[in-house]
Amino acid sequence: MNEIPLEAGLLLATILFAIGLLGVMTRRNIVFVLMSLEIMLNSAGLAFVLAGARWGSADGQIMFLMILTLAASEVAVGLGLIIQMYKKFKTVDIDVLSALKG
């Protein structure tokens, strides 16, 4: 087996995380926001798997499984909310949801 620099893997996770973050912050379409969140979750999972590989342990992969279930339930609830929002406001613009305004 070849050697893979840990640095490169973590760099990839960081890049993906930054991209996801950028998407969350910039996009106004709530579906895109949710997709960007998926990217971020994914990058976190990648970091876990990398860490597990670093120590030759299966724990990192187990953590990824947890993240996977988390992502699944989050997407289920999130998409339900998107449908409700669309029913109510006839739009997917996240800026419409401003009831938190102080």
Binding site: M1, N2, E3, I4, P5, L6, E7, A8, G9, L10, L11, L12, T14, I15, L16, A18, I19, G20, L21, L22, G23, M25, T26, N29, V31, F32, M35, S36, E38, I39, N42, L46, V49, L50, G52, A53, R54, G56, S57, A58, D59, Q61, I62, F64, L65, M66, L68, T69, L70, A72, S73, E74, V75, A76, L79, G80, I82, I83, Q84, V92
Partner: protein, 158 residues
């Protein structure tokens, strides 16, 4: 193997970037699936074949299909694509990019430089750990999924 890692990594980064700059939701979803598959390849190259398979089946398969169904239900047409173009063209990218850059730089500047000796950790090892010390976490995950199921049903019903 190492070249596989780098190729998959580059594909993942490019696909993810394309996701967040798309105008069409369906296109973005396809790129997201591509990105997830690329990461599955990365997992494989890191010696985690079980997770790689799960990533491909559950993430890129099941979850993304869920997305796709919802997008189809919303049925966003041409008008929404025009709207997306307008929103994307604004200078709203500047500050988020700066912040993301700062964050990125902050993390990157503290990365360790260690070489991994990749050894395959297959489904067997993972399963032993999972149903050994982590059995409680499995139960919790099942609760979480059940809660997600119930609440998604409840929210979408009204």
């Amino acid at each position: 193997m190492i070249s596989l890692f780098y190729v998959a990594a580059i594909v993942a980064v490019i696909a993810s970037m394309l996701v967040i700059i798309q105008v069409n939701v369906v296109h973005a979803l396809i790129y997201l699936v591509l990105s997830l598959l690329a990461i599955a390849v990365v997992f494989f190259s890191l010696g985690a074949p079980f997770v790689a398979v799960l990533e491909a089946i559950v993430y890129a398969g099941a979850i993304m299909v869920l997305f796709l169904f919802v997008v189809m239900m919303l049925n966003l047409g041409h008008a929404s694509r025009q709207q997306e173009r307008v929103w994307l063209a604004t200078s709203g990218w500047l500050l988020p990019s700066l912040l993301a850059g700062v964050l990125f730089w902050g993390v990157v500047s503290s990365l360790p430089s260690i070489d991994l000796s990749v050894s395959v950790i297959g489904a067997r090892e993972v399963s032993i750990r999972l149903f050994g010390p982590y059995v409680l976490a499995v139960e919790l995950a099942s609760f979480l999924l059940l809660a997600g199921l119930v609440s998604a049903y409840h929210i979408a019903k009204r």
